[in-house]
Amino acid sequence: MSIPSLLALATAALALTGAAAAAQTRTTYPLTIENCGQSVTFTRAPQNAVALGQNSAEIMLLLGLQDRMAASAFWPNSVLPELAEANAQVEVLTVEFPTLEAVLSRQPDFVAAMLTTLMGPDSTVANRSDFEELGIPTYLAPSACATTLDAGDAYGSRSELWGMDLLYKEIEDLARIFDVADRGEALIADFRAREAALREQFSDNEDLTFLFWFSSPSPADDAYLGGGNGPSGYIADLLGGSNAIRTEADWPALGWEGIMAADPTVIVAAQVDRNRWDLDTAANKIEFLTSDPTISQMEAVRNGRIVVMSGAAMNPSIRTLYGAEQVAEQLQALDLR
């Protein structure tokens, strides 16, 4: 064979392998996905998606899909700052529960939901069949499905530590649906790397405990805390420690006496943006902790081991990892003996 033809062959072969490699990450339609006990089929990549729920919306934005999103709804917290610009391009129907008609009026060709309260058999907004009957495929976050195998997973209290696995599944599924599998892979790889980095940076420390304070109606009332095995416990675990509160309930309420008895090494004060209670803001929390005569005697407070974290991280979502990183940054400046 002559060299030019060899070269041509080689280039062709290379191109083919390249194409084959690329083809592996390209979605072939029709695509059928098993999602929460239902088979959903997509004939093409959605162009006009509606995201019901902050986490679903933020995942789509992280995948760079803002120009393929028609609208979003239900935002219990403010958007991740780095996504603010992208989010501004997508209409927000309401930060509360939307109406089905409002969703339909945006002519969606795909609806993804974060919770069964937003889309499910008991929802006051919509069922999956409402969309399916109109030929609109739907997707429910795996973290929201009622699992039949292990009851401790989504509903009921957690007996095992929460993890990012179901979120990774969601990212993977959504990436495939939108034919951006490569971005999905990259995102998951990025998250995994960041998880690993945190674990490496913070070796296991038996004495290190964290208290995650979400908010309180008033200083005298019981405080709402992040419970044992939920996202708060996961963050603590990532950072080499454990949750000072061991109960399995996700949102235990505890009086300050109990909190002092738990004697956490670090107090994580959540910044909650909803403006319902004075103690929602991290600043007010810190002020209270440092000025109250009894509580300021806690070891964590005396040694200035108070860190701030976005309240969104205490809900099981991608924000949890960002929250862990936010805490990690502040931990480095602290003296942790």
């Binding site: 058999p121 109109l134 309930a249």
Partner: protein, 345 residues
């Protein structure tokens, strides 16, 4: 304003029922035409005539679905729920001889919340039971407890109401316990939001079920309307007039329980309708139940459809619990009833 079948009273009743029916039809029509999805009136009209087979116009499937599956079924369920709650209110006000009685005074919504959290938070039924079924069971359990404590609602009105308070407290405590020790905050919010009441989740199968329950209940109540009148001066008086007191109480209490539990399981707890509508209806057609019950059904239906439309217009694109609207109307009304019932100096 008096006898149930004599003279001008009858004409007045027929006129009132006729007007209410017309208003109801108009309200349902309005409900089909109003919503977040902008659909031209002409399209709405054609959609209905299409379904009736009178026309064959081309309508986008999404619009057809919104008009027919969402708006119309919702409006009709609202009408039935309003009628049902109003009837239950009238029955309980007669049985308990208390102008402030309504279905939810007997701990029904508390029971429903406990049933709902049992299914959702505790995972009872392992995912095969729906929140609706849990709420139904819970609501019925509350009624059963009250019936037990008050000896089948025969131990006297005050005693029965106290039993209702006890049931309320018990079930509320149970709900709190389950939610705080087992669940996560999201689930608790889910159940509580659901319980506030909304017609957003209803579809045609709900209409069919509720239609059956309401019709049967109304039929039974009308058959017992005369007996119910005999309770005007108390149980003993009713017995002296030949009414089988215990049987009537049990049957009517049971019917009220079934109807209320069905409604709560479908749309959550919607207060004030059962309290306020019987008073309004009494004002127009008088206290005799042969007239009062149909009037309650009509007024309750109209009230609920209009309240539902209002709840959809208060905040566009957002689901507002209908209890907000019924409370906005109900509370001033409630205050007026209390004021007029105050002991005269």
């Amino acid at each position: 304003m008096s006898s149930d079948t004599s003279g001008d009273g009858a004409a007045r009743l027929v006129l009132f029922l006729g007007l209410s029916l017309v208003t109801l039809i108009l309200a349902v029509a309005a409900a089909t035409a109003i919503g977040d999805y902008n659909i031209a009136l002409r399209t709405v009209f054609l959609s209905v005539t299409n379904e009736l087979g009178l026309t064959g116009a081309e309508i986008a499937p999404i619009e057809q679905s919104v008009i027919w599956n969402l708006r119309l079924s919702r409006a009709l369920v609202a009408a039935l729920a309003g009628a049902g709650l109003a009837i239950c209110g009238a029955i309980l006000q007669a049985l308990l001889r208390n102008a402030l009685a309504e279905p939810f005074v007997l701990g029904v919504s508390a029971g429903a919340s406990t049933g709902a959290v049992c299914v959702i938070v505790l995972g009872i039924g392992a995912g095969s039971l729906s929140l609706s079924l849990g709420a139904f069971a819970g609501a019925f359990a509350a009624f059963a407890l009250v019936a037990l404590l008050s000896n089948g609602a025969t131990s006297g009105p005050n005693h029965t109401i106290l039993a209702g308070v006890a049931a309320s407290q018990l079930f509320n405590a149970l709900t709190s316990y389950i939610v705080t020790t087992s669940g996560n905050a999201q689930q608790a919010r889910d159940v509580m939001f659901w319980l506030l009441g909304s017609f957003g989740g209803v579809r045609w199968p709900d209409f069919q079920l509720l239609l059956g329950v309401v019709l049967v209940s109304l039929a039974i109540c009308i058959l017992m309307a005369r007996s119910l009148d005999a309770f005007t001066f108390g149980d003993e008086d009713a017995a002296a007039l030949g009414v089988p007191v215990v049987r009537i109480r049990l049957v009517l209490f049971g019917v009220t329980a079934l109807l209320t539990a069905t409604i709560v399981s479908m749309v959550g707890a919607i207060g004030f309708v059962g309290l306020v509508v019987p008073h309004a209806a009494r004002y127009v057609v008088g206290p005799m139940h042969m007239r009062l019950l149909p009037a309650c059904a009509m007024v309750g239906a109209v009230f609920m459809v209009i309240a539902d439309i209002a709840s959809r217009m208060i905040a566009t694109q957002q689901t507002v619990p209908i209890g907000v609207v019924t409370a906005l109307v109900g509370v001033p009304f409630f205050a007026i009833i209390l004021y007029r019932a105050r002991p005269q100096a």
